[in-house]
């Protein structure tokens, strides 16, 4: 990790916070559309299995709960210093918003949302520094991008696909900013997979 880059990070992070705030507005717009009503969801779901959509949403919800717990571990580790700590708490807040929307959507579709586990397993023995925590968080965020990318084409309902793509965009921003904080190229590729 480049300590120099982290020392220089606050100004850049303040700008990113402003950007993330705006992106939150976009996500809310997608969430409102998603939560418009069960009738709208059902109407566009003809020929596809709502049960499949619910399963996919529940897998995403389970991963969001884990991400919330992971950021909590990071925040409480004592390894993160401001402004990185603030960033982690902000990202955790996004995951809480994702989980909230996913849970409500599952309910609207007539499904039963999974609940957060009582405890999660994290490789805490390998987290010895701020860089370790950032690197771990970045790996989760990159995985989340791939997971949503793999889920988007599966939805029978285009509104669900749109909402998943909106969350994907948020996760990708998290990943890029975490990489930047580590002194790595924030956007190393033109395409995600």
């Amino acid at each position: 990790m480049s300590l120099l880059l982290l020392d220089n990070a606050p100004l850049a992070l303040a700008t990113r916070r402003s950007f993330l705030g705006k992106s939150g507005v976009l996500l809310s717009g997608a969430a409102i559309a998603l939560l418009a009503g069960q009738e709208a969801l059902a109407a566009t779901n003809a020929g596809k299995s709502t049960a499949d959509d619910i399963r996919i949403l529940n897998s995403a919800l389970g991963a969001e709960f884990e991400a919330i717990a992971a950021y909590q571990v990071g925040a409480e580790s004592g390894l993160l210093q401001k402004p990185v700590l603030d960033l982690a708490v902000t990202f955790q807040g996004h995951h809480k918003e994702h989980a909230d929307v996913l849970g409500k959507t599952i309910a609207k579709l007539g499904g039963k949302a999974v609940v957060a586990k009582e405890r999660y397993t994290f490789p805490t023995d390998t987290l010895k520094s701020q860089a370790d925590v950032l690197r771990f968080a970045a790996s989760l965020e990159k995985g989340a991008v791939s997971a949503y990318l793999g889920a988007v084409p599966l939805f029978g309902n285009s509104d669900l696909a749109k909402a998943a793509a909106s969350i994907l965009g948020d996760e990708a921003m998290h990943w890029a900013i975490l990489r930047n904080a580590l002194g790595e190229a924030p956007v190393p590729v033109a395409f995600m997979s």
Binding site: R55, S59, A63, S139, L140, G143, S146, G150, L154
Partner: protein
């Protein structure tokens, strides 16, 4: 006669098992590239512990839906799949097609070489200290 048939059945079964084992003993592909592809799995899976998805240590030869303490979809538990290079290739290509009703809501790894490399990585990881070997 019955005992002869039983003996033949056992021999055929053993030969099949040996063949399957041999097939997995040396898995083709580039595990280094597979490790990079495995990063896509990191939202839900880890090698050594269960997350949204089950652990991958102990994967080869394991019956699907059998990790103790992990909650699987009924479809996965019913599947009777035993994981090896061939079954993993089929599942990873299109999880929802291979096991309809699986909780793994992922479109799949459509590139055959990427699947081969990913499986090679999983095999190597399973034989390494990452999985306690």
């Amino acid at each position: 006669m019955t005992s002869v048939r039983q003996a033949v059945f056992v021999i055929v079964l053993a030969a099949f098992a040996a063949s399957a084992y041999a097939k997995d003993a040396k898995v083709p592909g580039d595990p280094g590239n597979g490790e990079m592809i495995y990063a896509r799995c990191a939202a839900c899976h880890a090698l050594a512990y269960d997350r949204t998805g089950p652990r991958h240590c102990g994967l080869f030869g394991r019956r699907a839906g059998s990790v103790e303490g992990f909650t699987y979809s009924p479809a996965m538990k019913r599947s009777k799949i035993v994981w090896n290079a061939a079954t993993l290739d089929g599942f990873l290509r299109s999880p929802l097609t291979y096991v309809p009703g699986t909780a793994m809501g992922y479109a799949g790894v459509t590139d055959a070489k990427e699947r081969t490399d990913l499986i090679a990585y999983l095999k190597r990881a399973n034989e390494s200290p990452l999985c306690g070997k």
